[in-house]
Amino acid sequence: MAVCIAVIAKENYPLYIRSIPAEHELKFHYTVHTSLDVVDEKVSAMGKALVDQRELYLGLLYPTEDYKVYGYVTNSKVKFVMVVDSSNTALRDNEIRSMFRKLHNSYTDVMCNPFYNPGDRIHSRAFDNMVTSMMVQGC
C-alpha cells in the first residue's frame, strides 16, 4: 500500500523512516524531507485559533510523477508522512485517514513504553509490524 512511512520529530529530524524498495531509499528520504516544508506551510496556514480544534490529517501534501505524499500532524507536532504509489487508485482519502489513525495509535503505544526515551529513534517491534502491515497490505 504505502511505499514509505516516516515519523518526524517536532524538531524535524526523523524518528522512524522505512521504505519498501530499498534501492531508492535516499530518494524517499529526500521526498519526506521536502514534504516537511509543505507540512509547515499547511500547519501555519491554519492560524492560531484553529490550531486547537483542527484536524490532524493534512490530506495530500503534493503529488509527484510516481507518488503521492500524505501528511498528518499530531498535537505534539510530530509529523507522519506517507508516500503512496500514484498508480494505486484503490486508496481513497478515507483509507489514508484510517491508516494514519492506526499509525498514530501505534505511535502512542510506543510513547507509552516507559523504557522509550522521547526523542530517540523508534526501535519497536510492534511498531515495525504495524508499519509492515500497512506497507505490504494490498501490494
Partner: protein, 1419 residues
C-alpha cells in the same frame, strides 16, 4: 550590502562616461604633485557636473543631459595587463571583506542559519559573482542579514578597468587636455610640444594604445598656475596669448595651490580625494612604477620608446598565458595553473594593506583651499560646456550626415554589392568556423563602424533613443556581415539603451543580452566582455524584479561545478546532524567528488572522511565504493605533496584507551616436560583481583628486603600497562628488551580493510642529549633504526565490523626517553580498484612500493590516551580534569638481569596432601648477573625447596623417577610399634617471621649471565579439594644497584587440581591411669581416625598408612596401642580406620627449654621403612602448615584475644592445664592405577592438637557462614562480666584416680560390714599450687542418687583440705563401707579445686561423672 547604493539607472551611465585624456608637461605635473596628486587625480572628485547640460541632437532638437560625468585620465600607452587587472580586482574584493570572524555571513532562513561565506569560494575572487543571485533572492526575505560590500566595489572596478577594444568606442578618448604650467620658461612652446606629442601618439603606428574616438581629437589647452609661487600677471598674460591662439573655448587658466602646504596642518580642509584614491591606488602606483612607458615626460620619450618596443614583445609573449589564466575562463578547473595561488593572494592582500597605510598617511590636496576646489569644479564645467559637448555635438552631426549620405546610396545596393563579392559565401560558413574566429574584423576607420561610433556617442551623452536606433541598425549590419564580436557589442548596447530610454517605449529586450553573452562567451571567447554583459544584464533584470533570470545569468557565467559544490555545501548545513543520515552521506559524497574534480583535494578528503567515520548505515557495496573513492582522492592528495607530513587517516578506528603496552619478551612455549613460568603476557585479560594479589606479594617481598618497611618510593612492577593500571608515572623499559604495543583497531565499515606495512611511530630522545633540537631530529627518521628497532607487520586484515588488535614491537638499543606517537600504515581494501566512474584511474598512480592493484594510501594515526579523571582535591572534584597517561612514554633504562623459570615434572593433579617432587630451573638469560632470588607466595604450605640443613644434591629429574619423595631409612621390621626420635627446629626450614617469602637457595646466591640452576622442589597438594591457583612471584635483583629499577619480578601461576584423599581426625585425652608413670608429667591417649574419602574409585585403589609421626615441643608419641590385627592399616574406598597411641611428655622437657624452639619428632612405623619426618620435605610441610594454621587461628581469635587480655591470669593458668601442643603427621601411600600402571603416591596429613578432648581435623572444616542476624541499633553493653573458666577447663585442673580392687569378696554372713581400702590419687596438672577440697559426703539433695549410692558410705574423715604443689601427686587413703554385695560406684567423692593464690574460688567438681565400679561379692 546586497542592496546596491546606486540604482541601475545611475549605474549604467556612470559606467559609460566620455573619456578624456590628459597630457601634462613635467612642470605641470610637478605642480599637482605638491598635493600628492596627479593632474587626472586632481580632477577626479569634481568630474561630475552639478548642473544640467543642454545639447542639440542631429535633428536640432534640444536634449537635456543630467548628471553628466566625465573621466579624465593620464595617457597610458600600454594596455593594462590582464594579470594586473585581475590582481587589482582581487585586491578590491579583499579590501572590502569584513574581517575574518567578525561578521559572519549568516542568513537565517526559516529554521536554518546558513553561513554563505564558504572559505573555498572566498579564496578565488571572480567567483564572488556567484553569490549575487543568492543575495538578490534573499533581498526579498526580511530576515536576511548577509552583507557583500565587496560586490559593488568589485563591479565598479571591473567596469572601470575594462580595456578599450576595437569593436566599441565607449571608452575611447574623445578629447585630450594638454596641460602646461605658467612657471615654465616657454609655455607656448610647451603647448606645441604637447600637441605634437598627442598627435604622434594618436596617429603614429608605434602606438596601438590608447584608442581614440575619432581622428581629429579635441585638444584643450590648460595652463596651470601656482598661486602661491608663480607670477600671476605672467599667467594672465600667457592666458591672453593662448586665447588668441586657440580661441576662448579651447583653453583655460586653472589657478591652484593657493597656499603652502606646511601651513595647512591646522586647517581642516575636506579631502574629497581619499575615497577615490584608495580604490585606485594600485592602478596609479603601477602607472608610476611603470614610469618609462608613460608619456608624461618628453625628455626621454625616445629612449622610453625603445625600451617600450623591447618590452612590448615580452608583453605580447606573455599575453596568451595571462589570458589563459584569466579567472573568468569558463571551465577554470580544466587548467590547474589558473587556480589562485594562495601565497600570491596573501601577498596582494599585504600590498593592499601597505598602500592603504601609505595613503592614509598622506594628506591629499594639502595646498588647495576651498576656493581652489571651486576653481577646479569651474574648470571641469567650462571644459564640458565649452569644449567637450560642442565637440561631441559636432561629431554626432558629422557622423549623422555621413550615414544619411550613405543611406542615400541605397542600403540595398550596398548590401547587394556585398553579397555580390562575399555575401554568397557567408551562409556557407560552418558554425564551427564561426566559433573559431570571431568573424569579420573591420579596420578601425571602416565605414561600417561609423554608425556604431555615432551610437556610442549618443549613448555617452545619454541620448538613448537615438543610440538605440543606431545600435539596432548597426546590429543588423554586423549580423549580416557575420561580424560576431561587433554584433554582440551592438546587441549589448542596444539592450542597455532600450532599457535606459526615458519613458521606456519598448520592453527590455532580454534576448538581445542573452545572445550577446552567448556570442561573447562561446564564439569570441572573450570572458571579460561576457562578464560585463552579464553584470549589466543582471543589474537590469534585478531592477525589473526578475531575480531568477538574473541569477540564472550569473550562474551560467560561472562554473556549474563550483556552483553545484556550493549548493551542496549549503545543503549540508541544512542536513547536518539532523539525523537524515542517508541524505547526509549522499551530500558528503557529492561534495567530495565535486571538490575533487575542482582540485580542491583537501575539501574532498574531509568530505569523504565524514562519510566513512560516521557510523554508516549504507550497504556494504556502497561503503566499498565510498572507501575506494576516498583512497583514490587521498592518493592524489599525497602525491601532490610527497614530502609533506603523513596525513592522519580516519580508518580504522583506534580505541586508544584499549591500548596495552607490554615490556619484555614473549612467553616461551613449554618445551617437553619443561614448563615455563606463566609470567604475564598480552593474552591475559586484566583482572583487578589478581593484580591486587600480585601487588601484595611484591609488597611483601619488598618489605622483607627492606627489613619490614615498604620504601615510600615503591611502586609495583608493571609489565603490562592497560587502562586499569596506574599509568601516571613513566614506565620503565630495559634496553635490548622488546616493547610490545597492542593497538585495538575497529573497522566500522562493512567492507574489509587491509593495512599494510603497519608499524609504530615513535620519537626517541637518547639519554644525555637534552636539547630540544636533538630530539626533533630523531623523530620519524628511518635512520633511527640503530636506536630503536621497529617491527613492521606487512599485512593486517580487518574484516568488516571487526575489532582486532595488532601487536607491534619496538626494540630499544639505547638508553633514553621513548615516546610512542602512533601507528603508520598503508590503508587499502582487498577489492581491486576498478576505475572510478567520473574520475577514472590515472595510470601509474600506484607507488612502486606495493606492486599489486590494491589501492592504498600511506598515513598515520596518533595514539592519544586520556588519563583517568582526577578526583582527589576539591578543585578536581568540581571541575573535570584528567590525569596524564604515560603508558606510551617509557624510559629506557640500563641493562637488568632477566630471569626465566622452568618447571620440570610439575604436576597438574594431586591428591589432597600428596607430596610430589618436581624440579625448577632458573636461567639467567640476560647479560647481567642476578642475585637475591626469592620467591613469595600466598600459599607457602604448598611447596618447599628443602631445608638448609640438608646437603643440596640437585639430582637430575630423570634419576629421581619412581623414587620416594621422602628421605627414608630402612627400619628393622621388629621395631614395629616402637618410636624413633629425632629433633629439628623450624628455623632450619627457612621459615622466618614472614613464611610467605622464601629464599631460593642458589649456589653462591648469584646466577651468572647465561647460567642455569636446577633445584628440587617438593609440592604438597592443598588440603581442600578442587582447583587451586597458586601464584608465585620470583623476585631478583641486579648486582649493580640502579636508581630506576631496584628489582625485577617474574610471575608464575600454577594451577593444581586436587582430589580428596584421606580425612584425619584426632583427639587427645588424658589417660586416667597413673601407673607406669615414670617421674612426673603424665601421659595421654591419642586417637586418630583415618577415613578414606576418595571418591574416584577407578583411580585410587587403597591407602596405606605407613607411618604416624608426632612432633611437639613437650610431647611425644610413645607407642601404638592397638595394633593387634590390622598391622598394615589398609584403607579401601570409604573405609575408616582408628589408631590409638600413647603419648608421654618428653624426657628432655626441662633440658630443652621452651626458648630453644626445638621440636621433638617421633616416628611410629607401620611398614618397613622409616620416613625421617624431621628432614625435608616432611618437616618442611609440617612447619609450613603449622605456621599457616597458627596464622589462621590468630586471625580467628584475634578479636577474642583482645578481650581475653583483660581477663585475669587465673583463668589463663586454668586454661593452660587443658592445653596441649601435639601435632600428628600421618604419612600414607596411595596405590593408584593409571593407564594400567600402578603408581604409588605418597602424602602426609597434619593434625594439630591444641586442646584436650577436642577433636581436631586434618583440615579445618568449612565454617558455615553466620546467619544473618537482626540488625541491632543499640550498642551491645560491654559489661565486664568476670570471665569464668568453663567447667571443662576447671575439671582438668586436678586429675584424680581411685585405686581399688576391682572385685572384693566379703563374707557378709560373717561380718555384716565390709570395709574396702580405696586410694584416691590426686595429681595437680597445673603449673601452680592448687587448693583441693575433697568432699566424701553423698549428696542428699538428689533422691535418685540416694537410691544408687545409698548402700555404701565412706568411713572416716569425710572432708579433706589439701594443697597440691605444681605437678604434685598426692595419694589419699579412704575406706569404703558396704553392707550388701553388689556393684557400687565409688566415684562419688567430689573434688573441688581452687588456685591457691586466688581469692575467688572456682570450685567445681572434678571428674564427678567418672564411674568407678566395684563388685562386692558375698562368699
Amino acid at each position: 550590502m546586497a542592496q546596491c547604493v546606486q540604482s541601475v539607472q545611475e549605474l549604467i551611465p556612470d559606467s559609460f562616461v566620455p573619456c578624456v585624456a590628459a597630457l601634462c608637461s613635467e612642470e605641470a605635473e610637478r605642480l599637482t604633485r605638491r598635493n600628492h596628486l596627479s593632474f587626472a587625480e586632481l580632477l577626479k572628485p569634481f568630474s561630475r557636473l552639478t548642473s544640467e547640460v543642454h545639447m542639440r541632437d542631429p535633428n536640432n532638437q534640444l536634449h537635456i543631459i543630467k548628471n553628466l560625468k566625465i573621466s579624465v585620465s593620464n595617457i597610458v600607452t600600454q594596455p593594462p595587463l590582464p594579470g594586473a587587472i585581475r590582481k587589482h580586482l582581487s585586491d578590491v574584493v579583499s579590501i572590502s571583506q569584513p574581517a575574518e570572524g567578525l561578521v559572519a555571513n549568516v542568513i537565517t532562513a526559516g529554521d536554518y542559519d546558513l553561513n554563505i561565506s564558504d572559505q573555498s569560494i572566498k579564496a578565488s575572487v571572480p567567483w564572488y559573482s556567484n553569490w549575487k543571485d543568492t543575495l538578490m533572492e534573499l533581498k526579498e526575505s526580511t530576515l536576511y542579514s548577509a552583507t557583500t560590500p565587496w560586490f559593488e566595489s568589485y563591479r565598479e572596478s571591473f567596469l572601470q578597468s575594462m580595456p578599450a577594444s576595437d569593436h566599441e568606442f565607449l571608452n575611447h578618448y574623445l578629447a585630450c587636455m594638454l596641460v602646461a604650467s605658467s612657471s615654465e620658461p616657454e609655455p607656448v612652446e610647451q603647448f606645441l610640444k604637447l600637441s605634437q606629442e598627442q598627435h604622434r601618439i594618436q596617429h603614429s603606428s608605434d602606438y596601438s594604445y590608447p584608442k581614440w574616438f575619432i581622428p581629429n581629437t579635441l585638444k584643450y589647452y590648460v595652463l596651470l598656475h601656482d598661486v602661491s609661487a608663480g607670477d600671476e600677471q605672467r599667467a594672465d598674460s600667457l592666458y591672453e596669448e593662448m586665447k588668441q591662439r586657440y580661441g576662448t573655448q579651447g583653453c583655460y587658466l586653472l589657478k591652484i595651490n593657493s597656499r603652502t602646504s606646511n601651513r595647512s596642518s591646522d586647517e581642516q580642509i575636506p579631502d574629497p580625494w581619499s575615497q577615490y584614491l584608495q580604490k585606485n591606488s594600485i592602478q596609479n602606483q603601477e602607472s608610476y612604477e611603470d614610469g618609462p612607458y608613460t608619456i608624461t615626460s618628453n625628455k626621454n620619450a625616445d629612449s622610453s620608446m625603445l625600451s617600450l618596443d623591447g618590452l612590448d614583445n615580452e608583453v605580447k609573449d606573455g599575453l596568451p598565458n595571462n589570458f589563459k589564466a584569466h579567472p573568468l575562463q569558463l571551465d577554470q578547473s580544466s587548467d590547474p595553473a589558473s587556480n589562485f595561488d594562495g601565497a600570491d593572494h596573501i601577498k596582494s592582500m599585504l600590498s593592499i594593506h601597505e598602500t592603504k597605510k601609505m595613503n592614509t598617511g598622506i594628506l591629499h590636496g594639502a595646498c588647495l583651499t576651498l576656493t581652489d576646489h571651486d576653481r577646479i569644479r569651474q574648470f571641469i564645467q567650462e571644459f564640458t560646456f565649452r569644449g567637450l559637448l560642442p565637440h561631441i555635438e559636432k561629431t554626432i552631426r558629422q557622423l549623422n550626415d555621413q550615414l544619411i549620405s550613405r543611406k542615400g546610396l541605397s542600403r540595398s545596393l550596398f548590401s547587394a554589392t556585398k553579397k555580390w563579392f562575399s555575401g554568397s559565401k557567408v551562409p556557407e560558413k560552418s558554425i564551427n568556423e564561426l566559433k573559431n574566429t570571431s568573424g569579420l574584423l573591420y579596420p578601425p576607420e571602416a565605414p561600417e563602424l561609423q554608425i556604431r561610433k555615432m551610437a556610442d556617442l549618443c549613448f555617452l551623452v545619454q541620448h538613448y533613443d537615438l543610440a538605440y536606433s543606431c545600435y539596432h541598425t548597426a546590429k543588423k549590419d554586423f549580423l549580416n556581415d557575420q561580424a560576431m564580436l561587433y554584433a554582440a557589442g551592438a546587441l549589448e548596447m542596444a539592450a542597455v539603451s532600450a532599457f535606459l530610454q526615458p519613458g521606456a517605449p519598448r520592453p527590455y529586450p532580454a534576448h538581445y543580452m542573452d545572445t550577446a553573452i552567448q556570442t561573447y562567451r562561446d564564439i569570441c571567447k572573450n570572458m571579460v566582455l561576457a562578464e560585463r554583459c552579464v553584470l549589466l544584464s543582471a543589474e537590469i533584470l534585478k531592477s525589473q524584479s526578475k531575480y531568477s533570470e538574473a541569477a540564472a545569468l550569473l550562474i551560467r557565467l560561472t562554473s556549474e561545478k563550483k556552483h553545484a559544490l556550493r549548493c551542496y555545501c549549503q545543503a549540508m548545513q541544512v542536513y547536518k546532524g539532523k539525523g537524515w543520515s542517508l541524505a547526509e552521506d549522499h551530500i558528503n559524497f557529492t561534495i567530495g567528488r565535486q571538490s575533487f574534480t575542482l582540485r580542491q583535494l583537501d575539501n574532498a578528503v574531509s568530505a569523504f572522511k565524514h562519510i566513512l567515520i560516521n557510523e554508516s548505515k549504507q550497504p556494504a557495496a556502497q561503503q566499498g565504493a565510498f572507501l575506494r573513492e576516498y583512497l583514490y582522492v587521498y592518493k592524489n592528495v599525497s602525491q601532490l605533496s610527497p614530502d609533506g607530513p603523513l596525513p592522519q587517516l580516519p580508518l580504522p578506528y583506534i580505541n586508544s584507551l584499549a591500548t596495552r603496552v607490554f615490556f619484555g619478551h614473549d612467553r616461551r612455549p613449554a618445551e617437553g616436560e619443561k614448563q615455563a613460568a606463566t609470567h604475564i603476557s598480552l593474552d591475559q585479560e586484566y583482572d583487578s583481583e589478581s593484580s591486587q594479589q600480585w601487588r601484595e606479594l611484591e609488597e611483601q617481598v619488598v618489605a622483607v628486603i627492606n627489613k619490614g618497611i615498604i620504601p615510600s618510593n615503591f611502586h609495583p612492577t608493571q609489565y603490562c600497562l592497560n587502562s586499569y593500571t596506574d599509568n601516571s608515572r613513566f614506565p620503565l623499559a630495559v634496553v635490548e628488551e622488546p616493547i610490545t604495543v597492542e593497538v585495538a583497531f575497529r573497522n566500522p565499515l562493512k567492507v574489509p580493510l587491509l593495512l599494510t606495512e603497519l608499524s609504530l611511530l615513535w620519537k626517541f630522545q637518547p639519554k644525555g642529549s637534552n636539547s630540544k633540537d636533538n630530539e626533533e631530529t630523531k623523530e620519524l627518521v628511518t635512520c633511527g633504526h640503530e636506536m630503536i628497532g621497529t617491527e613492521v607487520i606487512s599485512e593486517f586484515l580487518i574484516n568488516s565490523e571487526e575489532i582486532k588488535v595488532a601487536r607491534l614491537k619496538l626494540f630499544p638499543h639505547h638508553i633514553g626517553e621513548l615516546h610512542i606517537l602512533g601507528v603508520v600504515y598503508n590503508l587499502g581494501t582487498i577489492q581491486s580498484s576498478v576505475g572510478l566512474d567520473g574520475i577514472g584511474c590515472i595510470p601509474g598512480c600506484h607507488t612502486g612500493k606495493h606492486p599489486s592493484n590494491i589501492m592504498s594510501v600511506r598515513g598515520r594515526q596518533d595514539l592519544e590516551i586520556q588519563g583517568p579523571r582526577l578526583n582527589n582535591t576539591k578543585e578536581e572534584k568540581t571541575s573535570i580534569k584528567y590525569g596524564p597517561d604515560r603508558r606510551l612514554d617509557p624510559i629506557i633504562t640500563e641493562e637488568m638481569p632477566l630471569l626465566e623459570v622452568f618447571f620440570i615434572n610439575f604436576p597438574t593433579g594431586l591428591l589432597c596432601g600428596e607430596i610430589r617432587k618436581a624440579y625448577v630451573e632458573f636461567v639467567n638469560v640476560s647479560k647481567c648477573p642476578l642475585t637475591g632470588l626469592k620467591v613469595v607466595s600466598k600459599r607457602p604450605e604448598f611447596f618447599t625447596f628443602g631445608g638448609n640443613t640438608e646437603a643440596l644434591t640437585p639430582l637430575s629429574p630423570s634419576a629421581s623417577e619412581n623414587c620416594s619423595a621422602y628421605k627414608t631409612v630402612v627400619a628393622d621390621s621388629t621395631s614395629g610399634a616402637t618410636a624413633l626420635t629425632s629433633s629439628a627446629s623450624s628455623v632450619d626450614f627457612g621459615l622466618g617471621s614472614q613464611p610467605e617469602v622464601i629464599h631460593v637457595p642458589l649456589p653462591d646466591s648469584v646466577l651468572l649471565p647465561g647460567a642455569s640452576v636446577q633445584l628440587p622442589m617438593w609440592l604438597r597438594g592443598p588440603d581442600e579439594e578442587g582447583v587451586h591457583e597458586i601464584n608465585f612471584l620470583f623476585y631478583y635483583e641486579s648486582i649493580k644497584k640502579q636508581s630506576n629499577i631496584c628489582h625485577r619480578v617474574l610471575r608464575h601461576t600454577a594451577v593444581i587440581c586436587t582430589s580428596r584423599s584421606l580425612n584425619v581426625r584426632a583427639t587427645v585425652c588424658r589417660s586416667n591411669t597413673l601407673e607406669g608413670e615414670e617421674g612426673r608429667g603424665g601421659n595421654m591417649l591419642v586417637f586418630v581416625d583415618v577415613e578414606n574419602i576418595n571418591t574416584s574409585e577407578a583411580g585410587v585403589k587403597e591407602f596405606h598408612i605407613v607411618q604416624v609421626s608426632s612432633n611437639s615441643k613437650h610431647w611425644k608419641l610413645q607407642k601404638s596401642v592397638n595394633l593387634s590385627e590390622n598391622k598394615d592399616s589398609k584403607l579401601a574406598s570409604r573405609e575408616k580406620g582408628k589408631l590409638c597411641f600413647k603419648a608421654v611428655r618428653c624426657k628432655n622437657f626441662e633440658a630443652a627449654a621452651q626458648s630453644s624452639e626445638k621440636y621433638t619428632f617421633v616416628d611410629i612405623i607401620f611398614g618397613n621403612e622409616q620416613i625421617i619426618s624431621s628432614a625435608s620435605p616432611c618437616a618442611d610441610f609440617f612447619f609450613r602448615s603449622l605456621s599457616s594454621e597458627l596464622k589462621k587461628t590468630h586471625a580467628q581469635y584475634n578479636s577474642l584475644a583482645t578481650e581475653k587480655q583483660s581477663s585475669d591470669d587465673a583463668v589463663r593458668l586454668i586454661k593452660k592445664c587443658s592445653e596441649v601442643d601435639l601435632n600428628i603427621v600421618v604419612l600414607w601411600k596411595a596405590y593408584v592405577v593409571e593407564d594400567n600402571k600402578q603408581l604409588i603416591l605418597e602424602g602426609q596429613h597434619h593434625v594439630i592438637l591444641r586442646t584436650l578432648g577436642r577433636e581436631a581435623f586434618s583440615f579445618s572444616q568449612k565454617q558455615e557462614p553466620p546467619e544473618m542476624g537482626l540488625l541491632k541499633f543499640t550498642r551491645p553493653e560491654n559489661t565486664m562480666v568476670p570471665t569464668k573458666p568453663t567447667v571443662e577447663q576447671l575439671s582438668s585442673l586436678i586429675k584424680t584416680s581411685l585405686q581399688y580392687p576391682e572385685s572384693f569378696n566379703h563374707p557378709f554372713h560373717q561380718k555384716s560390714l565390709c570395709l574396702v581400702p580405696v586410694t584416691l590419687l590426686l595429681s595437680n596438672c597445673s603449673q601452680t599450687d592448687v587448693d583441693v577440697i575433697i568432699d566424701l559426703r553423698h549428696k542428699a539433695t538428689s533422691p535418685d542418687a540416694l537410691e544408687v549410692h545409698g548402700s555404701f558410705t565412706w568411713l572416716g574423715q569425710t572432708q579433706y583440705k589439701l594443697q597440691l604443689k605444681s605437678q604434685e601427686i598426692y595419694s589419699l587413703q579412704l575406706k569404703a563401707c558396704f553392707v550388701h554385695a553388689g556393684v557400687y560406684n565409688l566415684g562419688t567423692p567430689r573434688v573441688f579445686a581452687k588456685l591457691s593464690d586466688q581469692v575467688t574460688l572456682f570450685e567445681t567438681s572434678q571428674q564427678s561423672s567418672m564411674p568407678a565400679l566395684i563388685i562386692i561379692s558375698n562368699v
